[in-house]
Amino acid sequence: MAEQHKVLLAGADERDLTQLAEYQAIGGYKGVAKARAMTPDALIDELQKATLRGRGGAGFPMGRKASLIDRKSPKPKYLVVNADESEPGAFKDREVMARVPHRLLEGCLIAAHAIESTDVFIYIRGEYLTEYEILQAAVDEASAVGIFGDVTITVHRGAGAYICGEETALLESLEGKRGQPRPRPPFPPIQGLYAAPTQINNVCTIATVPVILEMGAEEFAKTGVPSSPGTAIFSISGNVARPGNYELDLGTPMRELIYEHAGGIPDGRELKAVIPGGSSVPALTPAQIDVPLDYDSLGAIGTFFGAASLIVVDDRCCMVQLALRSTKFYMHESCGKCTPCRVGTRWMVQILESIENGTATQADLELLDSVGDNILGKVLCALGEFAVYPVASYLDKWRDEFVAHVEQGGCPFGGSSSLEGILAPSDQHAHTPVGEEALV
């Protein structure tokens, strides 16, 4: 069967790399010395040569981001690691923190040197308690032996809010406030945490940095595909035989991941849809899965690389129920700051419910489309768009199923859908201290 290419996770199968000694035994933290021997400018050049693209979703080159940091500012510079991983379908950052925490810390030290920062914050989602403990232990162990030098790494726990994965909301939350996104400009490299220049990167992005120093940027750039070098840890979940994380070269065919690594669709079921980047991106039909897993190839067919997290859906699933459950999540997680997201996501849920329970008309399908259009491109951050992208794609590619709901006055699956009756947190008695109304 097809091989994984373990780079971020290298060594973790053979050794307990949560132990400092074990990590050092395989050459761990050598990259730091290498980096510190270079000037920040040289280091940033090296990182730019590697064209490591952000693994958090936007795919922005990490080195270029570092070059944008206003290093002349009299204020301190900050490096913030985005470990809020909350995108449905994503669980890769968690594995990195649980199994190779020191590789992440090494990446932090190198990146910090590049942007001339001595203050690193790792914002980890509150639910990841065990991972927090492992990471904190690694921080304590490494700093105790002086590996950090004058750098301090603070692990900061979130408290349950998906929006805090959005970088400016994360900064607000890290500043102790409600995690609501900030308008941009000003952008974090100029005015980020505590209004100081700030570099924000995903866990996997930073954990890849030591690899670049180990291989050298030129060699690294040769791996994966030219437009997206390196490997990525792909989280694959849903209706596959062997769900889990697989570290593969970027550019690996999606079909290979689904059918060889993940063992295909179990119980003789048919593949119905793949949501390739976490639940927030447009879904693909079975006819579209012969696509290389990299940013540009996925972009070319109208979806996103996103969080490198594939949710595989088999033929038992009602696409309206899928849309409804997905939208309830984004409605629940909307921060409430900007109008289109706060109001639009709830409106979408109401429309989808009427479609599912058979009270909708043809006009409601048009309405659903148009409410989505009024959200896309009008919102303060992308959360509102994350609610729309997938639903718009279901409505577009599985329209007949939506129409069937309208025409049959109910769900054509007649209770047999794999998502039948699924209860969303927003359906249960939500805590609403002022005004006791349920969401919908």
């Binding site: 449905p88 639910e127 900061h156 979130g158 349950g160 849903g238 921060c335 947190p425 805590h431």
Partner: protein, 154 residues
């Protein structure tokens, strides 16, 4: 032993002067101490952080893991987001409901256990994921629910 006030001052010392970054850690600490963020808990936290109770309340109500009403001594969170849902999370949730005799979102009459459906916990490859007092259980199936509950002390 150090007082809550002193513990919060230690938290504040980790962040830049004058920032409110200690708010979340402090609120979590208060919740651990009081079980939930009662009026008193919020006032005590505000006092230690030198902010208004309204500020703490405003922040606390934003985050799902901070409770503004009483919860059971034990919390059982069942992920019902897409990946788990596609693999039968609803059946798992219902198994807990019938075993505990409460609906999702409720607390057992003896105040021992609160059961909730929650959004994605980040264990999608190991569905269904259930967090018991924030410790993850993977691959939970309806038939394993009784033994899980049986295995819990107290």
């Amino acid at each position: 032993m150090t007082s809550f006030y002193e513990e919060v001052q230690e938290l504040r010392a980790r962040y830049p002067e004058g920032s409110r970054s200690a708010a979340l850690p402090a609120l979590r600490l208060a919740q651990e101490k009081h079980g939930w963020l009662s009026r008193e808990a919020i006032e005590e936290t505000a006092d230690a952080l030198e902010v208004t109770p309204a500020f703490c309340y405003s922040v606390a109500t934003f985050y799902d893991m901070l409770h503004l009403e009483p919860v059971g001594r034990r919390t059982i969170d069942v992920c019902t987001n897409l990946p788990c849902a596609l693999c039968g999370a609803q059946q798992v949730l219902e198994a807990f409901e019938s075993e505990l005799g409460i609906r999702a979102g409720e607390t057992t009459p003896d105040g021992a256990t609160t059961l909730r459906a929650v959004e994605c916990l980040g264990g999608c490859g190991y569905a269904t994921v259930v967090a018991i007092d924030d410790r993850y259980r993977h691959h939970v199936r309806p038939e394993t629910v009784p033994e899980i509950l049986g295995g819990l002390d107290g």
